[in-house]
Symmetry: C2
Subunit: 264 residues, 2 copies
């Protein structure tokens, strides 16, 4: 694949989140009708409007690409290139006026995450990752490389997760083994936890009960920053890799977490 | 007490957080030595520098007032007026590069919370409450009243708490009863959850394992916004009221939460 393809795809990925930032921030802390989907996740008008705009831009730029989104389902999911969209990751935070929600955009090639963007519309922060490239962090001060930090000892690690209630059945004791070993444990991270990890501010994110649009964007970001992201067994993440994810800034810390998650 | 006293005290309270914002933001995401206190809470240089500046300003303005701070202990804790300071509420978030930490300032008169400020240095948001006055919310767009929303039915309520690991022994099932009854449950809030509640974006905050400097500032803010804040039995909060707190935007929701917390 020529570099220019990836450049054009990265350009579109950033245009997607540039276009949706004003849509999403315009609805933030405003009274909107909040529907309930079948699985009882709150969904806002902002979510649907942002995804519709992203789908329009993708179709106009790369009409042959597939699209999988949280709101509107899949078109051409078997295409060589498939965009995976989550306009508002952290909907519960959005509807409670909390700015720690994000927009996630991933592009898969033949099922593998090729590029990813985490955009925090209200915090005006963004992480951009692509296969074979150094991850970038962008905020009001400009854009610069994001690098994970070393943390070989899990006892020194700070661990983020969105909620302990993600972990059901045997997932709960597995998570608890890592939680008990980690130095600091924080909840409420949503996608932001992966960005903080990519920038070397924390060391581990462990989550479950996730859909692919909740985690695929993070894979090139973590990898391109020097970290490792996988399922709980250390396997590669794709559209069909299950609901459990593990990200670590230090490969040694990742290996230790995989061992703890597996230990009976 | 003449109004002018309260005005002068409110003026100082805002000057305290105006003075500490640049100190605290200057250390954010910078490499600083992180000590460990005896209770293993991480403490940063920023924390101590901010508290020292607040103590200096209080002593210069109201030399007879007492001061209780997280970092340096108490001076004149038996004075008529006592300032209660927490420079960085959410230290774990601060040291992991997460901007959702706050500065808490309370002024007690004869042990009762008279005024309070929640300041979010990185988010540039602030709530200001004082006995007998409407709570104010301040952000980049200016200052305006903050009001809680109605939510008489706990099944419709959104509930924030910093961490489920706050709840030990019988506190855990008590919290779980409210959590199971609430419509939405979110973690990771620190002091920000009380601000969101005061502005009518969420409905309940329930926490335990708290020190007085973790919660006294919030009392005038929640009360002046139309809500109720108390210990888990509905009792008034002061320097010696224990470690469990409950805030609700709607008095009916507060009463229901008190009942659920008490039910065996």
């Amino acid at each position: 694949m020529p570099t220019s393809n990836l450049d054009a795809q990265l350009d579109l990925a950033e245009r997607l989140v540039e276009a949706t930032r004003p849509i999403i921030t315009g609805y933030f802390r405003q009274a909107v009708d909040i529907d309930q989907k079948a699985d009882a996740t709150p969904v806002t008008i902002a979510d649907r409007a942002a995804e519709a705009e992203m789908r329009r831009l993708i179709a106009a730029t790369f009409p042959a690409h597939g699209i999988v989104g949280e709101e509107e389902g899949a078109v051409r999911p078997g295409a060589e290139y498939v965009w995976v969209l989550d306009p508002i990751d952290g909907t519960k935070r959005f509807i409670t006026g909390n700015p720690c929600f994000g927009t996630l955009v991933a592009l898969l090639r033949d099922g593998r995450p090729l590029l990813g963007v985490i955009d925090m519309p209200l915090l005006a922060e963004r992480w951009i990752g692509a296969e074979g490239r150094a991850t970038l962090f962008v905020d009001r001060l400009g854009r610069r490389p994001a690098r994970t930090r070393t943390c070989p000892d899990i006892a020194e690690a700070s661990l983020y997760s969105t909620s302990p209630h993600m972990f059901e059945g045997p997932d709960a004791p597995a998570f608890a083994r890592v939680r008990d070993a980690a130095g600091l444990v924080l909840y409420g991270s949503e996608c932001y936890g992966y960005g903080l990890l990519a920038s070397g501010h924390s060391d581990l994110v462990i989550e479950a009960d996730m859909a692919p649009y909740d985690y695929l964007a993070q894979v090139p970001i973590i990898t391109g920053a020097g970290g490792v992201m996988s399922d709980w067994q250390g396997g590669a993440l794709g559209l069909n890799s299950g609901h459990r994810v593990l990200a670590a800034g230090d490969p040694h810390c990742h290996a230790r977490a995989v061992a703890l998650l597996a230990a009976a």
